[in-house]
Amino acid sequence: MGQICLSGIVKSYGKEVVVKNLDLTVNPGEFLTILGPSGCGKTTTLRMIAGLEEPDEGDIKLGDRTVFSRNEGVILPPEMRGLGLIFQSYALWPHMNVAKNITLALKEQKLSKDEIEARLQNALELVQLTGYAQRYPSELSGGQQQRVAVARLIALRPSYLLMDEPLSNLDATLRTEMRASLKRLHRDLDATTVYVTHDQIEALTLSDRIIIMNEGRIMQEGTPYDIYHHPANLFVAEFIGDPGINLFEGHVVKGVLECADVKIPVPAALKDYEGKLVAACRPEKIQMSYKAKKGWQEVKTEILQPTGADTILEVKAGDTSITLLQSGFITLDEGTPLWINFDLDALSFFDPDTQNNLRVGKE
């Protein structure tokens, strides 16, 4: 267990710069997720930590050991970094049975036979695959294959754990189960973990801390709570949350943000704001009423999407679409009038030019 520290990392493929001067520290034992759309440089970052890609510039340290430094001329190959890595494809060797898959790396370390056997049994037990040692990967289900990949790391006991979208090949029901098993792996190994995904649910449910990347840059880093509630910029605001956040762009007129037919209250600090302003509000934070209330805006029901426990409502205020999320299974006719209200505490405000959160309101 130790710190993973990246500083000044630059990586390009030909002319295309995919990671732009990245600084990143993962604290000992922390579960850090790098979240971002495809092509944002997150997998490249992970592969650079593993040593499978070589940065153009910068330094990488695992604990107090420098594994890469362009300036000091240090580069350690992946086999000497002492990491564990779970691939999207699990990367089980198809010609070896489960036991061989798990023990190949242990034999390389010249561990004693008893030790290898003990670790194998322990690992199989932890992933609940005892008795599957002689099976071949092709004889296992997708979830079982993934558990073998996990067991391989448990047996290896690396102090740094890297995971590259390990859940994306599984179907939805298995994912929930496997999320738990990955979290257990992290806890059992007590390893400093970097997890890469484009799936925000995985990021929010698993992580101690999240880093959001876009176009090779860090857009925000923080706890899942922070990221969700206090997006640092419009990119993060829009990227996180399902259904997506509501954005209203307009000018402040008489102490109220006017965005076409929607009127949004602004905090005192923005009462005299000049120029364009974007207000953002999560669908579940918009209050809704079936009856008219004083000061609330009337909207018309457009489309309902009940998901069982919740219902996503798309409503229209004039020509502006607004998404609401209400608990319960709601059925309404199209065109039914509803009343909504924005709570000042639930609003974030952004400068559309810099894209940044103006950090006013409840902070």
């Binding site: 520290c5 500083s7 000044g8 001067n21 600084d23 990143l24 520290t25 593993a50 040593g51 499978l52 070589e54 510039e57 330094d59 362009r70 300036n71 000091e72 001329g73 240090v74 580069i75 190959p77 992946p78 086999e79 000497m80 970094r81 002492g82 990491l83 564990g84 890595l85 691939f87 999207q88 494809s89 990367a91 089980l92 060797w93 198809p94 010609h95 070896m96 190949l104 790396a105 390389e108 370390q109 071949y136 990967p137 092709s138 391989r152 290896l156 890297l162 880093e221």
Partner: protein
Amino acid sequence: MALVSKNSTKPAFWSRQNISYQAYRLKHKPEIIIGVLCLAFLGFVVLVPLIQIIRDALTFQSYDLAYYPEGEVGAFTLFHLDRVFNQPISAALFYKPLMNSLKMGFTVTLIAIVVGSSLAWLMVRTNVHFKGIVGAMLVFPYMMPSWVMALAWLSLFKNDRIGGSEGVLTYLTGVQAPDWVAYGFFPIVITLALHYYAYTYLLISGALATVDSELEEAAATCGMGKWKRIWSITMPLLLPALGSAIVLTFIRILGTFGTPALLGLPVRFVTFSTQIYASINARNEGDAYVLALVLIVLAISFIWINSRIIGVRKSFVTMTGKGFRKRESDLGAWRWPATILVILFLCITVVLPLTLLLWESLTLIPGDYSLGNLTTYFWAGQGNVQLAYGEPGIIHNKGILGALTNSIKLGFAAALFNGALGLLVGYAVVRGRGAWLSKWLEGIAFAPYIFPSIALGAIYIGMFSTNIGPIPALYGTFTILILITVIKNLPFTSRTGIAAMLQIHKSLEETARVQGIGWFRRMFRIIVPLSMSGLVAGMLLTFITAMRELSLIILLISPGNMVLTGLIFGYQEQDMAQHSSAVTLMLVLIIITISVIVRVMSRKAGVGRLSVT
């Protein structure tokens, strides 16, 4: 989060720090190390010899002094070019062999393409009977030396021209076959075509099987007639395969030696390959080098024309032994006649020659094909001074058994080295994809394709007749036979290696890397087992080629490294038909037996588990 200032400058390229960094970095990039090593090795064994014969062709050699005493060895001269292109002797040395080779090449290619594609169409797209066994038999010629047909032709039609015994025709009817039937252009074309159809058949049936019949059905729903469909849908899709089949066959025929030597030389029908052989034997290596270079230029221009017509990207289709089924059209009333035609064809190309060879090998007095004249002497005889210069039968003949051992050793060694080299080239090419090293390596591994066999042999004589630095003169050694066989087959095995590597997802190796598993263990525990099935097929192909090859090695064999094919050629030159027939038959049987064993074994070992990669 630590904010590191970005004003630190990169160390200069030549600084000690940077050099040690780069060295350390390369040390852990096995694909680059292997790539560089392979490139250096291939450059040495492919390009250096080529440059060397160009140089030798343009400078005075010691053997030229007999014609040109005032010449200075090593000085630049156009003497060889002048001799080959511009002297009274040039007609015999160059122009006649050139015309003969081209005539032969075009005619054989044409016939082989027509026969091969008709058979391919029948086997892949129609419902002829006995597809399994017939399909397997059709590629039999591939496992035989190309001149087996020529030997059989001689047993059948040999006349009294070259003396010695006469053929079956004369024995049965008393009629002497005319010279044009027994020797020269006509029999050469027929026998070569009946061998090389197997190549075009393999290539075109492979391509035909991948042309989706739905494309043709789609055309049919648009109202196209049958011929229109073949012309505007099937043909364009087949064109790349057809093009490479033509080029492949043509280059092989340019480089083939056995058949033109057996059937052409008795009537002075000289081709490029036999002229190169004659020039080398007459110690006029300079002439041979010029001829070999012309042959290479011919081959390259052919490849170039082909790629211009078809498009560079599609112009090469590699040969695989695979055949798969597609929607079959019903031949109706023609089903049985077509089947019988194919079987008849098989009888002529496979059964008849082997039967003739068997019969020939069992006759006591050559030319007497009666039952009373049958003997097992040439298989099991102890050696009798009155028969065949006292040469004992196969199982007691030290020379034959030695050559047999050599052939098998050559086959296995070439297959093994070729497999290893193919795998390493594949590894370096696939892992290094995108870098110039990868492209160069892929290109140079394919280069031997353009050397006709006999020309490559000539190049190797030039290269390895003296020592090069620490490498001793390899001429006359067994090593040179292995080397040339490996190089000649490299275009095919490196393709196999690349294809096999492409199927192994790189994460399978990366995960091992990250787990701390070193390169050798990764190679032997992961890469090799996973690419085994493809490699075995490629190695088997090399084994077969090595066992039956003559044109490639004819210039390089000597009593010290004699192999079966060379021995057979020697027996034939001495008019010892029974011996040559018996040994040929044994060779064919061994090749077939070993390929069957390898196929069965690899099928048994490779089932089931490798489905997930």
